[in-house]
């Protein structure tokens, strides 16, 4: 009997329509990128572009010319290889495929950047800056928010309210850091504010079985209204002289901590090793979440309650307790991410500080297929495009609006074209009710 069953189990996957469709999509996508990169390469007249390898212009750090065209051709070669691999249908179906996609994406990005800055006509020539330091600098809300989403959804709770957690984190991070005159305390408060949103999410979705998407959306509206209202209650400086509250005196925002030696590694050094403590935490968090989800008892249980809660229940796991733990942990992550907008950058809270980045974090969760590493990669991509929006303002080779919508357009194309019908955790969004 076992012989008969193993026959069915070890059967080779057969090529069918979906498989062919996947190949066609890849060939078309890589083909378009190939054509674009080729056109950019051919349209560059002057191969020299300026590059500044520092945060700011200074005596020691001047923009230097380098042969950008060569970089474009290298990118072209990479895209060509990927295209050939796609044509002969040798793109693997596992994690390596992701690497190929990233390589093609980076090639396109490099080629576009060089093309964008090449052959300038304006009086003052703009230069390329290394996008990585500012990408990493912008990443905490996106990365931590996306990880919060991953942890929650892996446990079977849809967390639309990442935006709310970021907002509350930002606001209470600012207020408490001022009250306590300590950024550290502010960050803890931000985290706790995220936990409070998670508590509401849990109360309504786990305890009262309200639709989780609905709760999430409403929590965002609530957080937006509450933070705006409360910010209005903080006295302005003139009023403050009379009231004498503590809120006027907030500590300076977090400053970069340079790790000597490592920070002078070319290209990556300043990006990875000259950042604030919040950024370091955000960079470590993906590893922590991966370890927790895949290597610990807790993670196994979280994934079990997200996939098949009844199965978990029948081996004695308290489904809702595990879900509570997961969403509270997620809330702490996202709240900490929210601290970036205040404690991590400006120190003061602006209305709607998160400005939709919670939604982008949600998109990163789906693009990253509910995996901490995938979601982090997607979040870093969004952070990169945010950095790009700032950097590319000086030249106007393409309308600035096009660059502004690049991340959204890319997400739409990626999700529609390649992610498509991904498989979320099987019990995602379903309250667990014993019958």
């Amino acid at each position: 009997m076992s012989t008969t069953t193993t026959v069915t189990a070890s059967e080779k996957p057969v090529r069918d329509r979906t498989d062919k469709l996947r190949q066609i999509k890849l060939v078309v996508a890589f083909g378009i990128v190939w054509v674009l990169v080729l056109m950019m390469a051919l349209s560059i007249d002057n191969s020299q572009v300026l590059f500044l390898n520092a945060d700011e212009l200074s005596k020691e750090h001047q923009p230097e010319p380098f042969n950008g065209l060569r970089l474009v051709w290298i990118g072209f070669a990479i895209v060509s290889i990927a295209l050939v691999v796609a044509v002969i249908n040798r793109i693997p179906r596992n994690g390596w495929a992701m690497l190929i996609h990233v390589a093609v994406g980076l090639s396109f990005y490099a080629a576009f950047t060089v093309w964008y800055y090449a052959d300038q006509t304006a009086a003052v020539e703009a230069w390329i800056t290394n996008p990585l330091p500012s990408m990493v600098k912008y990443c905490p809300p996106l990365v931590l928010g996306a990880l919060a989403g991953v942890v929650c959804e892996r446990a079977g709770v849809i967390n639309i309210a990442i935006e709310a957690q970021l907002l509350m984190g930002a606001f209470f991070g600012a207020v408490v850091s001022a009250l306590a005159y300590s950024n550290g305390v502010g960050m803890i408060a931000a985290s706790l504010a995220g936990v409070v949103v998670a508590l509401m999410l849990g109360l309504f979705s786990l305890r009262y079985h309200v639709d989780q998407v609905v709760v999430g959306v409403v929590l965002i509206a609530l957080a937006l209204g509450l933070t705006t209202f409360l910010r209005g209650q903080i006295p302005t400086e003139q009023e403050n002289a009379h009231l004498n509250t503590l809120l006027s005196d907030s500590p300076d925002p977090l400053t970069p901590i340079e790790i000597p030696g490592l920070s002078s590694i070319p290209v990556l050094g300043r990006a990875l090793f000259n950042q604030s403590i919040l950024v370091y935490l955000a960079l470590l968090a993906p590893f922590l979440v991966w370890f927790l989800l895949y290597q610990t008892r807790w993670g196994l249980r979280v994934r079990a309650v997200g996939e098949h809660p009844k199965a978990a229940d029948t081996v004695g796991i308290r489904v809702n307790r595990v879900r509570w733990q997961a969403i509270l942990f997620g809330g702490a992550l996202a709240g900490l991410g929210g601290a970036f907008y205040t404690v991590g950058s400006s120190g003061s809270f602006n209305d709607n500080a998160a400005n939709g980045q919670g939604f982008m974090a949600l998109a990163a969760v789906i693009m990253g297929r509910w995996h901490p590493v995938g979601a982090t990669m997607a979040a870093l991509f969004f952070a990169l495009t945010a950095a790009m929006k700032d950097d590319f303002g000086l030249v106007t080779k393409v309308p600035s609006e096009l660059i502004a919508i690049a991340p959204y357009l890319a997400t739409l194309i990626a999700v529609a074209g390649f992610v498509g019908r991904v498989r979320p955790p099987a019990a995602d969004g379903q309250p667990y009710v014993k019958d």
Partner: protein, 502 residues
């Protein structure tokens, strides 16, 4: 370990699912619990396993009263359960499934877990690969994983809830071997089933449950007819009255159908058959051998990768369900709550779920509400659908009445072909007889009928010709006079014209 149940009662609102049940399971005994679908077997077992709280009564282990607040308590007390719907996480490996809930430390040790699985499978002769993903292994092996899970918790009392539904006759034999082996090592087993044959083959004692009450106990020597009568409460005819079929011309022809599922596995392999007017073609086979996909392709829900489905000289496989329904196919899906009705819709709406487009019930973009209401009243009466009103949501009806809604709808228009998959699954005996009669009546009207069932009894009762599916192929087509054993062999892939796999 001796397990005693005293006066166990469970109510859901006004409904008494279990009514003062008394039962004693001795150590090393295989105790069979026999009852129809909906008799209350699962409720009882869920109380034993800590999934449901009893309304009254108590459970005693070796004379000591115990209460199970959660399955954890039951597991710790030495009770293990193999659920009818496997409680396995599909995306986890076998080892991960076995270790879940008893991981043995905050950080996972997958090596040790795999070793534990290997040890257990050696000891009890349950071969599995600990590193295989559960979703990749066949159901028979998944069941072994379920048993291993219980054994890994040192279960002294093992509850097997309808374990044979997904197995071939040969696998059932093997399972019974395992049960005897466990019994020999001192494990008590509660074996829940509604199949009389199995009870007689393996049971030491038999308790029969009906409408939430234990109506009697019997020895394995009792005849099947006696057991059936105890189970249903009246003498049951296990056969359907029908005349010989007047077979006409082929109506629907499947030619060389091959289907590849989304994961890239070939689940239907080059299947050809024809359904003829006035004849019931039964498709037999163990669940998961391609029947589901084959049937769905006949309606156009799945597009075959190769092959044609010819109805009246047209390949209807290319168009989708709407064209197939309009071409005269009636379809009773395998899983009615999933594909057969919309549970929040009223009986009235569900009775026109695939008919609202017809000129009878709509006028361009507008529905004819009066006609739809009239239709509902007629069907409710004709098919004896027990509902408080035509506006009651179908989700709140009993399983049998839900199925009657689906059947009534499909029978309310002229059909060329009727495709019915598991037409009586989870349906009470009265409704089974009713639905069987209607199917035969449809046949006698000259419709080509295709019945898919994993219940051999149903196939034998209805079919005029039986096609047996194994591993995505029709291994043989036989007449219903064939011996049970031989069909069993065919269902396991042995023998037959094309069955070369075994």
């Amino acid at each position: 370990m001796q397990l005693q149940i005293q006066g166990l009662t469970r109510r859901f609102g006004d409904f008494v699912a279990n009514d003062a049940i008394d039962l004693t399971i001795e150590p090393g005994e295989i105790h069979c619990l026999l009852g129809e679908n909906g008799a209350g077997k699962s409720t009882l077992m869920n109380m034993l396993y800590g999934l449901l709280e009893p309304s009254e009564g108590q459970i005693l282990l070796d004379g000591e009263p115990v209460t199970f607040a959660s399955p954890k308590d039951a597991i710790n007390a030495g009770i293990g359960m193999v659920h009818q719907h496997f409680m396995l996480v599909p995306v986890f490996t076998v080892a991960e499934n076995v270790m879940l809930g008893r991981e043995g430390g905050p950080v996972l040790n997958r090596g040790a877990a795999a070793q534990r699985v290997r040890d257990l499978s050696d000891r009890y002769g349950l071969r599995v690969d600990p590193k295989a993903l559960v979703e990749d292994i066949p159901v028979g092996v998944q069941q072994r994983v379920e048993i291993l899970k219980a054994l890994a918790n040192d279960a002294k009392v093992l509850i097997l809830d309808e374990p044979t539904a997904v197995l071939t006759p040969q696998e059932i034999d093997e399972l019974m071997g395992i049960m005897r082996e466990l019994k020999a090592q001192g494990t008590s087993i509660i074996f829940i089933t509604h199949k009389l044959r199995e009870v007689k083959a393996v049971g030491d004692r038999i308790s029969v449950i009906r409408r939430g009450k234990i109506v009697g106990t019997a020895e394995p020597t009792a005849t099947e007819a006696e057991l059936a009568e105890m189970m249903v409460g009246r003498a049951v005819k296990l056969t359907v009255d029908k005349d010989a079929a007047e077979v006409g011309a082929p109506v629907l022809e499947a030619r060389n159908i091959t289907i590849i599922d989304p994961r890239g596995h070939e689940v239907v392999k080059d299947v050809s058959f024809e359904a003829r007017a006035g004849e019931v073609l039964g498709i037999a086979g163990v669940q998961g051998n391609g029947q589901t996909e084959l049937i769905k392709s006949l309606l156009g829900l799945i597009r075959p990768s190769a092959g044609e489905i010819m109805l009246d000289g047209d390949d209807i496989g290319r168009y989708g369900p709407r064209r197939s329904l309009e071409a005269g196919i009636g379809y009773i899906p395998e899983d009615r709550s999933h594909d057969g009705y919309v549970s929040s819709f009223s009986v009235r709406e569900n009775l026109v779920l695939d008919l609202y487009r017809s000129p009878e019930f709509s006028n361009g973009p507008a529905l004819k509400l009066a006609e739809i209401e009239r239709n509902a009243d007629d069907r409710i009466q004709e098919f004896d659908i027990r509902t408080t009103s035509r506006e009651t949501p179908v989700g709140s009806l009993s399983g049998g009445n839900q199925q009657k809604v689906v059947v009534a709808r499909e029978f309310s228009r002229p059909l060329k072909v009727l495709i019915a998959s598991q037409p009586t699954r989870g349906v009470d005996v009265g409704s089974i007889e009713f639905i069987h009669k209607r199917i035969i009546a449809e046949r006698d009207r000259g419709t080509a009928v295709i019945i898919v069932s994993t219940e051999l009894d149903e196939i034998f009762a209805l079919a005029d010709r039986i096609a047996v599916m194994y591993d995505g192929r029709i291994v043989d087509t036989v007449s219903p006079d064939i011996e049970r054993e031989q069909i069993g062999l065919l269902m396991a892939g042995a023998g037959g014209a094309e069955g070369g796999a075994a």
